[in-house]
């Protein structure tokens, strides 16, 4: 009987075998998966006849799974945030990219060339979003306006990543993210204005929609989604620029379908696909030759020229990967609690 259970156990753990005739893409679930499925994957399958299968999950869940599967990855391609991509790369999980196999990558913006292992797929910003109907006495022209006493107990920021406000506080203290300590006192002075810290996009939406926190340091794409749902949010790009965020793409080391993966990434950088992604998510295309709808291109937080990319606050992804834990701990100890 023990042998029966051992056999059953072995069968269960060997059950999720990957389909050999598909390209497997690891990405966040929900609208992110749908975005890639309806744009890149659709065109890739039409051109190659190879279907795309998706593995979805949170940023850290997927990172841990791939770390455990090192050498025989669960996916061929991974989408992740630029600084988390450095954690994959530092652990030897990403293939070094041969950009000669990605001709469309020639048009990538400079900021989207993150590392030899991962490249930007699209971009967004974290910036100030507010309910003009609930905050009437404050004008948001500069990041320093967040420190206004009128905003006491009205502000929310992400609890999972304080890097945006840490970089901004450093900048307002004549320093940069690498010398973030110089902005500590500035950030501590913002503490009375924080009312809550949101856990995810849905939580951010709920807090803004209900007016619970009428001002947020918010993901631009998330703000546009809410605006589309009828929530009267005003998104502003402060004169110092917004904090740039880049989601990246990479090929997993050990993938047996590297050639197909290169084709997939090349399809991702197709100017039409990039324009479609910008339209669907109201983010910035990673390539500079995308023909973005003028109505989309004029939105705050959507960049289509090299000059626009350069105007934003760009925290070096490698620095961010190394500093995230230190920043997070300091933020929890000094601001959140």
């Amino acid at each position: 009987m023990v042998r029966f259970w051992l056999a059953l156990f072995a069968l269960l753990i060997s059950a999720p075998v990957q389909a050999q005739d598909k390209l497997v893409v690891s990405i966040w679930g929900g609208s992110w998966r749908d975005l890639v499925a309806e744009t890149v994957a659709k065109k890739f399958t039409a051109e190659t006849g190879v279907p795309v299968d998706f593995i979805t999950g949170g940023t850290i869940d997927r990172l841990n799974k791939e770390k455990l599967a090192k050498g025989s990855p669960e996916s061929d391609i991974t989408f992740t945030t630029s600084h988390v991509g450095w954690l994959y790369a530092n652990d030897g999980l990403f293939e070094t990219l041969d950009t000669s196999k990605i001709p469309n990558a020639a048009n990538l913006s400079e900021e989207a060339r993150i590392s030899p292992y991962h490249l930007g797929a699209w971009a967004y910003v974290y910036t100030i979003g507010y309910r003009a109907d609930l905050v009437k006495d404050v004008k948001f022209e500069s990041w320093s306006d967040l420190w206004s006493p009128e905003l006491k107990g009205k502000l929310a920021a992400p609890d999972f990543d304080p890097s945006h406000i840490i970089a901004v506080s450093a900048m307002l203290s004549d320093a940069d993210a690498a010398h973030w300590e110089k902005g500590e006192d500035k950030l501590k002075a913002l503490k009375p204005n924080f009312k809550a810290f949101y856990t995810n996009d849905a939580n951010s939406q709920q807090l803004l929609a209900s007016g619970e926190t009428p001002v947020q340091i918010v993901l631009s794409m998330n703000a546009y989604y809410m605006i589309g749902q009828g929530v009267p949010i005003t998104l502003v790009i402060p004169k110092e620029g917004a904090v740039l965020g880049i989601d990246t793409v990479a090929i997993m080391k050990g993938s047996k379908k590297a050639e197909l993966a290169y084709k997939f990434i090349n399809t991702l950088y197709d100017p039409e696909i990039q324009a479609e992604i910008a339209k669907l998510k109201k983010g910035s295309p990673a390539v500079l030759n995308a023909k973005v709808d003028p109505e989309i291109a004029k939105l705050p937080g959507v960049f289509t020229t090299a000059a626009q990319w350069k105007q934003q606050i760009n925290i070096d992804a490698k620095l961010r990967a190394e500093k995230t834990a230190e920043w997070r701990k300091w933020f929890a100890e000094n601001i959140m609690n």
Partner: protein
Amino acid sequence: MNQQPFLRAFTTPAAFCALGFVAAMIAVLQYSLRAYVPGSLDPGGFTLANFSDLLKPLYAQVFLNTVWICALTAVATLFVGYPLAYALVHIANPLAKSALLVIVVTPLFLGEVVRTYSWIIVLGNNGFINSVLRGLGLIEQPVQFMFTTFGVVVALVHVTLPVMVIMLAAGLSHIDRDYLRAAESLGAGPIRVFLTVTLPLSMPGVIAGVTTAFAWTFSAFATPQLIGGGRVNMISNLVYQLGFASFNFPFAATLCVAGLALTIAVLAMLRLAARPFENIEAH
């Protein structure tokens, strides 16, 4: 002759599970003693620095908050759950009994996140409670329920209530009705019967319910995360904030080990306190 021929076969899957659980615990313990290396997923050498970090006032405060919230939740759930469990056991009408059981148990079938979002709608500044209070002219400015310990406890009571009611109902249903009839025949009124017979005899169920509610709440994550909004934190929220959101797995593991030790210590104290009630016979 083997008296329990299937024992070995039936316990084999449990042994596999136990093996996996022990392996996971050893991994967590091992991680808690390793250094965090910035920018890397692999931990560094062995160190006790993670445990010395726990002595900072912030962490001691979160640990105390956790115990306080668990205690409040367990007691509040007991007060809300006892009348429901009593009614569940004593209602004679099978239809009413079924309806009550469905109302009590239904929350178990909803995810914790769904239930918590419902409470956000109820407790928010423009939520149900504030709207009613404003509508009745009792308040002008909304009462702040969100991001407070009160709001977190209210939502946790809802999450914990089904477990408490089921345990209390089990305790109450074991009370021999002859004791109640005997008390009544000796002239005791309903209140006296309840206070001198039902309540003492239901203490084993009360203790089991309170202990379970306490332990159940200790690992609460979604409710304090969403209702607390980063302002009311329990240990699991700290593990998420410092571990998973920043890749500092060694320190997250240290918090888990400390949290587990605290849970065991508190439950041991509860058990000691409950010892006088252990020998109560309900029938």
